[in-house]
Symmetry: C3
Subunit: 330 residues, 3 copies
Amino acid sequence: MTNWFAIGMGSKNSKGDWLEVFYPKNLINPSEELTLKAKELVSYREGNFTSSIPSDLVQDIAKLSKNFSSLETERTVLVFVDSKLPPNDVPSCYLRLHLLSHRLVKPNEINLEDIFTLMPTVAWTSDGPKDPKELNDILSDKKINNEAIHIHSLDKFPCLTDYVVPEGVRIADSHRVRLGAYLGEGTTVMHEGFINFNAGTLGKSMVEGRISQGVIVGEGSDLGGSSSTMGTLSGGNETLISVGRDCLLGANSGLGIPLGDRCVVEAGLYITAGTKVEMIKSNSKVEEIKASELSYKDDLLFIRNSLTGAVQCKPNPKTVNLNEELHSNN
Amino acid sequence: MTNWFAIGMGSKNSKGDWLEVFYPKNLINPSEELTLKAKELVSYREGNFTSSIPSDLVQDIAKLSKNFSSLETERTVLVFVDSKLPPNDVPSCYLRLHLLSHRLVKPNEINLEDIFTLMPTVAWTSDGPKDPKELNDILSDKKINNEAIHIHSLDKFPCLTDYVVPEGVRIADSHRVRLGAYLGEGTTVMHEGFINFNAGTLGKSMVEGRISQGVIVGEGSDLGGSSSTMGTLSGGNETLISVGRDCLLGANSGLGIPLGDRCVVEAGLYITAGTKVEMIKSNSKVEEIKASELSYKDDLLFIRNSLTGAVQCKPNPKTVNLNEELHSNN
Amino acid sequence: MTNWFAIGMGSKNSKGDWLEVFYPKNLINPSEELTLKAKELVSYREGNFTSSIPSDLVQDIAKLSKNFSSLETERTVLVFVDSKLPPNDVPSCYLRLHLLSHRLVKPNEINLEDIFTLMPTVAWTSDGPKDPKELNDILSDKKINNEAIHIHSLDKFPCLTDYVVPEGVRIADSHRVRLGAYLGEGTTVMHEGFINFNAGTLGKSMVEGRISQGVIVGEGSDLGGSSSTMGTLSGGNETLISVGRDCLLGANSGLGIPLGDRCVVEAGLYITAGTKVEMIKSNSKVEEIKASELSYKDDLLFIRNSLTGAVQCKPNPKTVNLNEELHSNN
């Protein structure tokens, strides 16, 4: 599906520019009837389209979301998004991030071109979202009046859980998962885990490492503490990294190639695309190849031989089993 | 000691199930007199026992904890815990976590069987603890009413410092230390440090690495930034890892064996139980052994030879000295 | 410049000791006229000097900072600081940290001797700064009254962004950057980044690693996820580490020498001062030297040969280019 219609509410800076938009789940692609009425009222044809909410629609929406009728109109927005097209404004960006986090689309399935340019940096504070340009004055006022305020982030992306609470997940430190992350049911993100927008896990998994933008982790995989997946945004390479099913990235390890299923990268070992690897069979070396040639291959174990210092790859003898008890997320 | 009696107060979800319980320190094993009166009033015999607070006890408690008499009874709880037995409900789990963090018991000294199954996942928010199932609606209401709310964690365990403030410690980012962590006096947990429940430090120490569940770190030791101790819950092995006194785990290093006293693991080196190690004496190799055979041995230095790539172990020439100034925690 | 005059406001514990002080930017070295009047009123001569605000000065200050006249006098403070001299009290420490974060002085340019001894550990809470010694009682009161409170840190240093919001930066998780950090314009600190006080970046840069106290990172450099710069406070060595311009520390790498310009340390490799390095030219080894001898040298690439396990250094063929889109901080 690439056509989306949603009703949201958000906040603006003192110039009237959108800072952020929240879309309640029941107002994302609501009933056919409501959608058709909205299309007609705003004369929608195709593509991306953002407008204020026609007053004739307010009562229909209020039936779905209580208190909606009391909303000030400048805080509400109506958007149509064709997710094949690049986003064109803040409400359109935020809807796309909601779609990912509500598991309505998977990472890399929708167009997010120029999202960094479109989305403003926001000061996420205990008093709600603020324009960073207005923040030094706000701080001064608060301190003078002896009132507490805490800024927990200065970022283009909010914390996932301030917008979407996916079912069946745990996120030990919410500041480490951005809105736009896709968390499969049964995912546990521990304190050291991180998931960027347009990235995530397809099913049950243990995340104590970093899932970079664009990276997808298959069901049953375990990313150990501080393990790294190379991103394509900054520093990294051009091949999109991914992790198959039932894989284990050991603690402090790193991954610069797309991994098949049931693979293990030993704790502390960083595999990049250019790493030369000794292929081992029955305890002897059969050839030397670049790690990139092992992309997507299943059942591999990567280690660094602790006596020779050589990076080696052999058939993976063990299967990874996630601790069932840890993943009963209630 | 394995017998505990405590009075606490907590919060429940809309179904009336406990989300969490707080026990003021002065209501954990209070006076003999109060304990005996409570035992009699609830006809306590032995083992684990949880009940509401008999009205005849409220005034006695109010003497110890002001305002207590104004508490609604459904928010209060009375528990007897035999810490040799497995916990049986949420109040019993939370008391055990308090015991650890108040330094009344050490890690691995009490029974925590099935604690993951018993404890519910809670949304820890700026408005207090909430049931995650009720959170999407709460978010919608808040956004509609333009009120701020921030979810800082979706986890079975709260932040230590929202329940217990141990004396003489610093914790730079409270989101990284769970209730149930044991922090010895003089412990500094820097921003990258992490301490799980039933884990911790016995005395003065610098923690910039991760202390996994069950892991104990001896006095005077320093865990460098992002250093890893292998846990037994997820991924890791079956031997419980520990760190002796006056040890140093270098930044980005990792440990998969129990370490003796005055040992050093070089920055960036990950030692697992299976790592084959060259034993070096007077600059020459005397034998090759598995790291697990070096468990609990004192005065060792682990490095990876930067020319041969071999992991080596030699007598540790230096003693680790924590920076006194950094550990004056006031 | 080493002479500073500022007016601030803060909070004290129940004994009347300062916990923290905030200085609005426009009250740091305000007009010559105001400074002269203040000097005269408090009979300032030279060096460090802290006092309450003379009542004759309040109206002059109120012109610069609205509501100032309504401040209780015990919450306000006036300081003169000679930043060549060691700080002598809490207000003097806090002014120095503000100077760094407002980019008025660079790291290592002012005297911060004994700052750890002078600054108290503070409980940074959703209700404002508190004395940790008073916190267990506060927690009990809040829980009894069913009011929410969240402690986000127990530290001598507050989060940068609760005091200073530098222009043109993003900080994904504010809990990872201390007041006293120096962030050059165009700096992005991702979730895994960390910047200590008296440390930072001189210009545009991407920080996903840890910048230890005293460490300076040149313009255009990229510190990959979990990369480590060795500090001199704890564990590390005595040479102050720095990173030149347009450098890349790969993810999970580490640095124990001062780096020149356009250098790369491969992902997962930790270089310490004592690391022996094979110097490679035209694919062959020309000599073996200690990494410390490569301090401040430009255009170097450090890798660990994945077949021999040897740490090698060769001329760096690539230049690092930060992603422009990521650094448009609006």
